[in-house]
C-alpha cells in the first residue's frame, strides 16, 4: 500500500512531531518526566561510576608513575645526603673525641714542670712478644733516647730509638722496661718491670714495707728518666713469702696500651722536677 520511502518519511515526521510535543510539554512543565529520569539513574549510574573510577585510577596511575620516578630520584639523592651526613657526623665525633683527648693532654701538660711535646702513635710492634710503639716525632723535633713518654692516665714508656722524624717507644709493659717507683701511701720503693702480658711486676720491695691491693704506684724520679710523682699503676696482687726478702707485687698500669693514640714526650725536665697535683 505504501512504499518504503513513504513509510520512512512518515516515521521521521512522527518522531520529530513527538519530539517537539515532548520538548514543548517538558519546557512548560519541568519535572513532568522526573519519574523516567529516576528510573534510568539506578541503571546507568553504576556504569558511570565504574567508568569514572577507571578513568580516575588510570589517571592516578599515570601521575603516580611519574611521581615514583621523581621519588626514586629523590630517594637516591636523599640517601647520598644521608651518607654524607653520616660521614660528617662520624668525623665530628672523631674530632670531638680527639678534642677531648687533646684537652686532657693539654691539661696534663700544664701540670708537668718540664718542656713536653705531643706525638701521635703511628705504629705498633710487629711481634706480640715485645711491646713498643712508633711515634711521629724524632730527632728533628728535639727527641733523644731515654726521654720519658706519658699520657694523662700515667707512664707509657721510654724512647729507645730515634730517627730524624720518628721514634720508637719501649712500653712500660715490655719485659725489658723498668721504672724506679714508689708506693704513694707507704713510700715503699722498688722497680716496676713489664711482663709482656699487659701487666707489670713491682720488684725489690722489702717485706717490711706495707703494700696493699689498690695502692697507687708513682715514679720516684730516682732513675733519672721519669719526673717524680707520675702515676705508674695500681697494685693488684701482693704475695709475701716467709723466708724471702722481697714481696711479689703485681701492678696494673694506668695507661691503656691498647688504646694509645696520642702521647706526650717529656723533652726536658729539671733534675728536681715534679708533677703538680
Amino acid at each position: 500500500m505504501f512504499s518504503k520511502r513513504t513509510l520512512l518519511i512518515l516515521f521521521l515526521l512522527t518522531s520529530v512531531s513527538l519530539n517537539a510535543v515532548i520538548l514543548f510539554f517538558s519546557l512548560r512543565h519541568p519535572g513532568a518526566f522526573s519519574g523516567a529520569e529516576e528510573a534510568v539513574f539506578p541503571v546507568t549510574a553504576p556504569f558511570q561510576e565504574l567508568a569514572n573510577m577507571l578513568i580516575d585510577k588510570s589517571r592516578r596511575c599515570w601521575r603516580d608513575y611519574f611521581y615514583l620516578v621523581s621519588v626514586g630520584e629523590e630517594n637516591l639523592r636523599l640517601k647520598k645526603e644521608l651518607g654524607r651526613a653520616e660521614e660528617t657526623r662520624n668525623r665530628c665525633t672523631e674530632l670531638e673525641l680527639a678534642n677531648q683527648r687533646f684537652r686532657n693532654l693539654l691539661r696534663f701538660r700544664r701540670k708537668i714542670d718540664s718542656r713536653v711535646l705531643a706525638a701521635e702513635v703511628i705504629g705498633k710492634d710487629p711481634s706480640p712478644w715485645y711491646r713498643s710503639i712508633i711515634i711521629n716525632k724524632g730527632e728533628k723535633d728535639g727527641l733523644r733516647k731515654s726521654f720519658p713518654v706519658l699520657v694523662p692516665e700515667g707512664v707509657v714508656g721510654v724512647v729507645t730509638n730515634v730517627s730524624a722524624h720518628y721514634a720508637r717507644v719501649l712500653l712500660l709493659v715490655d719485659r725489658n722496661s723498668a721504672v724506679d717507683a714508689l708506693v704513694q701511701k707507704s713510700r715503699a720503693r722498688g722497680i716496676v718491670r713489664g711482663d709482656s702480658a699487659g701487666a707489670c711486676i713491682y720488684e725489690y720491695v722489702l717485706l717490711r714495707h706495707e703494700v696493699e691491693i689498690g695502692d697507687t704506684v708513682v715514679s720516684s724520679g730516682l732513675d733519672g728518666v721519669f719526673p717524680k710523682g707520675l702515676r705508674v699503676g695500681e697494685v693488684t696482687d701482693v704475695v709475701r713469702r716467709t723466708g724471702g726478702i722481697f714481696q711479689e707485687i703485681k701492678v696494673k698500669p694506668y695507661a691503656d696500651f691498647e688504646k694509645l693514640e696520642e702521647v706526650i714526650v717529656v723533652i726536658h725536665h729539671p733534675p728536681n722536677a715534679e708533677v703538680l697535683p
Binding site: W129, T160, L171
Partner: protein, 172 residues
C-alpha cells in the same frame, strides 16, 4: 728488578704488620707475615738472592720491633736454611706441605723469641705464651699458604713485566 720486588713486599708487609694488624689483633698479634715470604725466597729464588733479601727483611723487622737486635735476622736465616736443606732432602713441592711448613716457621720464630724471654722469667706466664703460640699457629697454618701463593703469583707477573737484573735465574 727482583730487588725492587723484594723492597716493595718488605715495605708492604712491614706496613701491614705495624699499622694494620695491631688494629685487629692488638693483644695476641698475628703471626709474622715475613715467614711465608722467607719460605718463598728459600723455595723459589736463587740462594744468594734469597739470603740477601732474607737478611734485609730481618734487618727491617729488627728495626721496627723492640726485640733485641738480630733476633729476627737469626729467625729468618735459620728458617731459610732449614727450608733450603729440606728441599734437598725432601720433595716438598706439593701444596699439601704448605700449612705444616708455615706452622714450622711460626714455631721456629716463636722458639727463638721465647729463648730470649724465658731466662728473664718475664714472658707473661705460660698461659700468655700458649695463647700467643696457639693464635699464631692457627693463623699461620690457615693464611700462610695464601700469602705464599699470592707472593709467588705476583712475582711471576712481575717477572713477565720486568726481568731479572741483579741475580741470575736458577735453571731447573
Amino acid at each position: 728488578m727482583n730487588c725492587l720486588f723484594h723492597v716493595f713486599f718488605a715495605v708492604l708487609l712491614s706496613g701491614v704488620q705495624v699499622a694494620v694488624i695491631p688494629a685487629f689483633f692488638s693483644d695476641t698479634g698475628m703471626y709474622d707475615l715475613f715467614i711465608p715470604y722467607i719460605f718463598f725466597l728459600a723455595f723459589s729464588r736463587p740462594f744468594l738472592e734469597g739470603l740477601a733479601a732474607g737478611c734485609g727483611m730481618g734487618l727491617l723487622s729488627d728495626s721496627l720491633s723492640a726485640a733485641p737486635f738480630g733476633l729476627y735476622i737469626t729467625a729468618y736465616l735459620w728458617f731459610f736454611f732449614l727450608i733450603r736443606w729440606g728441599l734437598t732432602v725432601l720433595q716438598i713441592n706439593s701444596r699439601m706441605f704448605l700449612p705444616p711448613v708455615m706452622i714450622l716457621g711460626v714455631l721456629g720464630e716463636g722458639a727463638v723469641f721465647l729463648a730470649d724471654a724465658l731466662p728473664g722469667g718475664r714472658s707473661g706466664g705460660l698461659h700468655h705464651v700458649l695463647r700467643i703460640f696457639a693464635w699464631q699457629l692457627f693463623w699461620g697454618g690457615l693464611t700462610g699458604p695464601f700469602v705464599f701463593t699470592a707472593v709467588s703469583v705476583f712475582h711471576r707477573k712481575w717477572k713477565r713485566g720486568g726481568g731479572n737484573l741483579l741475580f741470575p735465574e736458577r735453571v731447573h
